[in-house]
């Protein structure tokens, strides 16, 4: 492998594997990427030990792409290690960027998760009320499990992140754009999301009125027969398009379903959910508080709808005082 090729690392933390599928979906494009860089770390593809990475000089890796949220000590360790060894850290996909769907767990508690899974499920048969523990012995041998954190965290809550690649998962075109920008050194300012600056609505081709038509109530996608030509919000179905970064190719809209916001929010927005509150509120009819309340009550799960991919990144979860490894 040639030395002048940039060294690249891929790593996943609490990830579903969909981000890796997205990389594989580059198909032939993957070969181009593989030819342009020197992949030094890809745990599933290559043997990986901490010591291999530790042996590298600090900053030796040009770019590390990290997907998945942070949930365990092990993930935190590796994230920190990569921060030391890599010139650039790119948070890859919604989970690393904003916490992702597994981040919805922050709306419940660790105790409830254990209770639901091991004690209360309709199939569980557990008269002794056994609960997995981090250290135990089985037939005389010691077995350990990593501890389970109480919260899901975004990557940048733990380490300093240089760039973000949004999406659950990022679409192949977004991946190619980002990798090209990095390889060609055409990088936006540090801390930027690499992607479109426009809202999804700006490129969505569904017809929408100049001024929103006001609704007395909202619908879940199954409750109405959606017109595939007309804006979802216009039909009273919550669509996250107005506050979501474009660039995915309107994938869900193409599937005749509303956007759920996986590309995260726009530059300059401090809170995705709060931004959506403003956007959606504009579609509510009535000046009387009672009427408005009625309409609002038809949005059954505002937190899960407006922060589907971003509970851990919301202002209400962010910890500004968090110690960041530079």
């Amino acid at each position: 492998m040639s030395d002048n090729k940039p060294k690249v690392a891929f790593y996943w933390c609490a990830s579903c594997g969909g981000c890796e599928e997205a990389v594989v979906d580059l198909n032939e494009g993957l070969l181009d990427v593989a030819a342009a860089v020197d992949i030094v770390l890809w745990p599933v593809a290559l043997d990986f030990k901490y010591s291999d990475v530790e042996a590298l000089r600090d900053g030796d890796i040009a770019v590390a792409f990290v997907n998945g949220a942070i949930r365990t000590d092990e993930q935190a360790h590796i994230a920190r290690l990569l921060r030391r060894k890599a010139g650039l850290i790119v948070a890859f996909g919604s989970c690393a960027h904003t916490g992702g769907i597994p981040g919805l767990a922050n709306l419940t508690t660790k105790e409830k998760i254990f209770e639901t899974s091991y004690l209360k499920s309709p199939t569980v048969d557990n008269p002794e009320k056994t609960i997995p523990v981090t250290k135990t012995t089985v037939d005389g041998v010691d077995a350990t499990l990593p501890g389970f954190w109480t919260q899901v965290h975004t990557l940048d809550q733990l380490i300093d992140v240089d760039y973000y690649l949004p999406g659950c998962p990022p679409m192949p075109n977004s991946i190619v754009d980002a990798v090209t920008a990095i390889l060609e050194g055409k990088l936006p300012p540090k801390g930027a999301v690499i992607g479109s600056k426009k809202a999804l609505c700006d490129t969505c081709t569904r017809t929408k009125p100049v001024k929103p038509t006001l609704h007395e109530r909202f619908y879940l996608p199954h409750e109405i027969d959606v017109d595939p030509e007309v804006c979802f919000l216009e039909q009273g179905v919550i669509c996250c398009g107005p506050a979501t970064r474009g660039g995915c190719g309107e994938k869900c809209i193409q599937g005749n379903m509303p956007c759920t916001g996986c590309y995260g929010t726009l530059d300059g927005v401090t809170d995705q959910g709060a931004k959506l509150v403003s956007a959606i509120a504009a579609y509510i009819d009535g000046d009387s508080a009672i009427e408005v309340k009625k309409a609002v009550a038809t949005i059954l799960d505002p937190a899960g709808t407006f922060y589907r991919y971003g509970v851990p990144a919301s202002q209400l979860f962010k910890k500004e005082a968090m110690e960041v490894t530079k």
Binding site: D73, T150, D271, A282
Partner: protein
């Protein structure tokens, strides 16, 4: 009762006048009440409210002109829609509805200003300081 901070947005055209008059009338309210003047209640973006909580407010109060009196016609109605939509959202994050209110105070209502602010402050003080989530660093065992 605990010392708390009540972030209070007042609109330039009505509520600020109300606060001013309250001052003139020497109506007392706790030092924990922090006033922020905005042009209109309709300019209070929900992002600001969340940032307020994040930066240490234990309660957020938004004051605007009475319905029909907004200088920009419908700013207070917009504010109302957002607030009513924000409320159930905050509840899901465990933020009690008493920490969060929209109310109307006109320029001539110094006394009303005092009453609204004091009542709200007392409710928030009864709930005590708002605790948002802990950081990851503390969770580490290794």
């Amino acid at each position: 009762m605990a010392e708390v901070k009540l972030l209070t947005f007042v609109c330039n055209w009505c509520s600020y006048g109300g606060a001013d008059q309250a001052g003139g009338l020497k109506i007392e309210y706790p030092s924990g009440v922090r006033l922020v003047k905005v042009m209109c209640s309709g300019r209070v973006d929900p992002q600001l409210i969340l940032q307020g909580f994040r930066k240490g407010a234990d309660g957020v109060l938004v004051l605007g002109c009475h319905p029909g009196d907004c200088h920009y016609k419908s700013g207070n109605y917009s504010a109302q829609k957002r607030m009513l939509l924000l409320e159930p959202l905050l509840a899901q994050f465990g933020i009690e509805s008493d920490r969060f209110q929209l109310n109307w105070v006109s320029a001539g209502e110094g006394e009303r200003f005092g009453k609204v602010v004091n009542e709200m402050y007392n409710k928030v003080a009864a709930l005590g300081p708002l605790k948002l989530t802990d950081s990851a660093v503390k969770e580490e065992t290794a």
